[in-house]
Amino acid sequence: MAVAPQQQRADLREPAGWRRTKNRIATVLMVLSFVVVIIPLGFVLYTTIAKGASAITGSFLTSPIPSVVEPVNVGGIWPAILGTLEITALATVIAVPLGVLGAVYLNEYGGNNWLSRFIGFMADVMTGVPSIIMGLFIYSIWVLHFGYSGLAGALALGALMLPIVIRSSYEMLRLVPDSLRQGSYALGASKSRVTLTVVLPAAVGGIVSGALLAVARAAGETAPLLFVILGGLTTGNANVFHGANIALPMLIFQNASSPYPGAQARGWGAALTLIAIAFILMIAARVVTARFARYAR
């Protein structure tokens, strides 16, 4: 077998013709989809900042809620900030562990049996329940017996978050390669140990992603809270388990469509605050997860 006298350099360019064009078009479309998303986001943020930034001062963030007619330099939105933080935190504590555990059952224990397929299907159906129906549901089974409270709000938001956390965690757990699991079993670990120490850490990035999206949605929901926490507060309620409460989305909704300029500025200031709080939390969570994921690898 004769060896070619010269080694031919590998041709690393894209193939000529239609295949290359298709590739280029695909890349352009992908970039375009990102651009398509940035534009409205930019406009929304611009509107929120333009209308709300002037309201943000130290006292705005820490003062009690004034009457709607008051100008923007009177009072603030502290009760709503407190309400959003405590209700969303409680909802997260309720929904995320339950959701992840549920996904663990579906993926690790349930396999393909009818129960886990049914639960998975029902979790999908549950994501389609309108947020307002969730609020009305919690009203009829909880508020009617125990009165208005931040806990009721947390239950309503948690119920909204639960199916999202389950579905996203399930998808992530499913994609953890079996080789990881089998290696752990081979070393003699029990199933719970494998799940807790190998599978979950391997999927933690995706699970946290899904959980963050669920939290972001919960923090921004208005409709369910309208029926279960009452609102109308002027001073903060630090007790999330008892007594009426208020949250930023409710305040935004009430104020931003009011004709009083003070109320409008307060509403948009509250919107800006909510976006800022949620965004900072998301970034923090992603940074923390990335750090742990690095260790896990």
Partner: protein
């Protein structure tokens, strides 16, 4: 080694969260106060009419300075929600722009509900016609406009009652409420009472408006539509219309006079109504030469029998404030205070709570 650190961090975080919640749960509800036998104290929860919302917020703010141990939370949400919350017992009093309708009386079976009228206000016919600063409307014309039988501003029917005003040929855009509301209920009640042969759409908190009507959320939303759309006309609460800087039309009342909406004209309307023994009345289409015809009212509904003496005390204190010193807050908010006779009757009813 790293897993240990992860475990430590997670445990620490969980501990912080759990202790935070238990601290909050164990601490007494901050708004309770120490419930001394001297003054009223406690928390009052209320929901209902958004027409009252402005008044309630201002009153709550002032009431705090008089009775710091009583916390009142008024959540709004609509008259219907207020009534159903009261029926369910989740609120102490409810704001409602209309008396309990027959479909809901079953929810209150066996319990006596007291009506306390608290505020009166006009509903304006706000419009956006550049160059037209004064406009006169009659109930029949309004009914035809809002059923899309009159479609342009220079319609002969409008021209007939506005001699000397140049009306453009702009198409009329209706600005209505997207959400159900007591304002819609009373506006449609006015049309049904004042133009019964013409108005066919009934009286309800939700009306099926003709297609092409633009719907806004809340009085503020309707005001915003009128403000932004030349040729628009909508029904907006007086307080919101003034805050939005809208122009309003004068409406012909029962006595045949064209009245511009104002708090005095609303009080004049309320002064002329017949009040039932339970203090319910309807201020629309009221008699009186200076009465504004589209005036409405709002009540605070309370159970006569209260389960706890301290709640009864707090209710009497707060409602007493609304009917007394609180009425002075109303003109600045562009609402009309109650006529003296109705106010006196309401105050007399306070002692029944207990």
């Amino acid at each position: 080694m790293q897993r240990l650190r992860v475990q430590q961090v997670t445990t620490a975080a969980l501990a912080i969260v759990v202790s935070g919640f238990s601290l909050a749960a164990c601490s007494s509800s901050g708004s309770g106060g120490s419930g001394g036998s001297s003054g009223p104290s406690g928390t009052l929860n209320a929901s209902g009419s958004s027409f009252q919302l402005l008044f309630q917020q201002a009153a709550i703010q002032q009431f705090r300075t008089i009775q710091p141990n009583v916390t009142v939370n008024y959540g709004g949400g609509g008259s219907g929600k207020g009534r159903s919350d009261l029926a369910a017992g989740t609120v102490n009093f409810a704001g409602s722009d209309s008396p309990i309708p027959s479909t809901e009386t079953a929810n209150f079976a066996g319990k006596t509900v007291l009506y306390f009228p608290v505020v009166i206000g006009p509903i304006t016919m706000s419009y956006n016609l550049p160059g037209v600063t004064s406009l006169k409307l009659t109930p029949t014309v309004i009914a035809d406009i809002f059923q899309a039988k009159i479609k342009t501003w220079n319609d002969p029917a409008i021209k007939a009652i506005n001699p000397g005003v140049t009306l453009p040929s702009t198409h009329i855009t209706l600005a209505v409420r997207a959400d159900s509301s007591g304002t819609t209920q009373n506006f449609s009640l006015f049309l049904m009472t004042a133009a019964p042969s013409v108005w066919k759409l009934g009286s309800s908190s939700t009306i099926s408006w003709p297609s092409g009507a633009q719907a806004g959320s809340g009085n503020g939303g309707v005001a915003q539509i009128v403000h932004a759309t030349p040729g628009a006309i909508g029904y907006v609460d007086y307080a919101d219309a003034k805050a939005a800087g809208l122009t309003f039309a004068s409406v012909q009342n029962k006595a045949g006079q064209y009245i511009v909406p104002s708090t005095t004209a609303a009080s004049a309307a309320a002064a002329g109504v017949t009040v039932a023994p339970d203090l319910t009345f309807a201020a629309v289409w009221a008699p009186g030469a200076t009465a504004y015809p589209i005036t409405y009212q709002s009540w605070d509904l309370v159970y006569q029998k209260q389960s706890s003496a301290s709640t009864a005390k707090a209710l009497k204190a707060y409602l007493g404030y609304l009917l007394g010193a609180g009425q002075k807050l109303l003109p600045a908010l562009n609402y009309a205070p109650l006529p003296a006779s109705i106010d006196a009757k309401a105050k007399a009813q306070l002692s029944k709570i207990g």
